[in-house]
Amino acid sequence: MKAFALFKKDFKSEMRTRYAVNALAMFIVVTISVIFFSIGQERINESLTAGLFWVVIFFSAMSGLSRAFVSEEERGTNLTLQLIAGPSTVFTGKLLFNLILVFAMNIVIVVLYSLIFDAFVIKNMVLFVTSFILGNVGLAVSSTIIAAIISKAGAKGTLYPVLSFPILLPLILTSVQLTIFSIDGTKFEEAIVELMIVLSYDVIMIAVSYMLFDFIWKD
């Protein structure tokens, strides 16, 4: 259970510095309040609501999730990590940490969103929860592997969203569609195609990440 030990180490150091948590919380509060003030009492349609919802999720993820590997690089602890654990163990540990972060972040976003916006009323809860879980897993996996790639580079802050955008685009577009469906109250069976796209995105990203992480990490 080295992977879990790594996760615990990351969790402890995060609790001490609270770097990622603070970045995420600030971003969520700022974006949601900007949207809230600009919309006011106006009732916006479901496609706009779903789109704005995923804009908040995408950019919040971009502001906090790169910490997983960037912090190791900045503190110069990545060589020690290479000594004590194999590449896939390191990746599993980091992935667990990012999964927890993504789920915590998105639950906060969903709660704030449903409190603030009248238009964000979900009619099909089962569909929403399923797409939410699948979408979060995809987001966590992609953001972890991209964080590993950019941690070696110079301009980390800008490179992260730039590199993430094309990789996350299919996931985000399908998730926006699924969010529209769940606000609309579309039946579960009718959204099965979109759910399968998100599921296969998750499987592809997990398989590719575990295959390619060896090369990124050994370098």
């Binding site: 299919p170 569609q177 579309t186 009718e190 195609v193 979109e194 296969s200 499987v203 592809i204 398989a207």
Partner: protein
């Protein structure tokens, strides 16, 4: 070590193919037969013509716009659109409505009007003046 890459590669190829197939399925389909639209009750793009004998109704209180559409075979259905009358509605040759059939009428989210091209008529005029 090598097995991992072969196994992973197979998984990735299978799911890439599956995604490619699913992407072709996810688009909203065109439907020119209204009997299918009524049977399926799915979100479709229904193409047809406005029935001019039955006039349209604009309900300002509920902000809806109701009219009747027919397809090439003459099947009719009632269309309810939550919004104002689209431009060029009266002069449209054919219509494409996006939405779902539900509770005895077609709930349209979007109406596309196909109008006679004004450029083709101008071309005809130019030809007339030349000869």
């Amino acid at each position: 070590m090598n097995k991992k890459y072969i196994f992973g590669g197979i998984i990735v190829t299978i799911f890439l193919l599956l995604t490619a197939y699913l992407f072709t399925q996810s688009n909203i389909k065109y439907e020119t037969d209204f009997t299918h639209v009524i049977e399926k009750q799915k979100t479709v793009k229904a193409a047809g013509f406005w029935v001019k004998d039955k006039n349209y109704v604009v309900d300002n209180a509920n902000k809806t716009f109701t009219f009747f559409m027919k397809d090439e075979k003459g099947n009719e259905m009632k269309v309810v659109y939550a919004g104002p009358i689209p431009n060029n509605f009266q002069s449209a040759q054919s219509l494409v409505v996006t939405g779902k059939y539900h509770d005895g009428c077609f709930r349209a989210k979007d109406i596309l009007t196909k109008c006679p091209s004004k450029y083709e008529q101008e071309k005809a005029k130019v030809q007339k003046t030349e000869f």
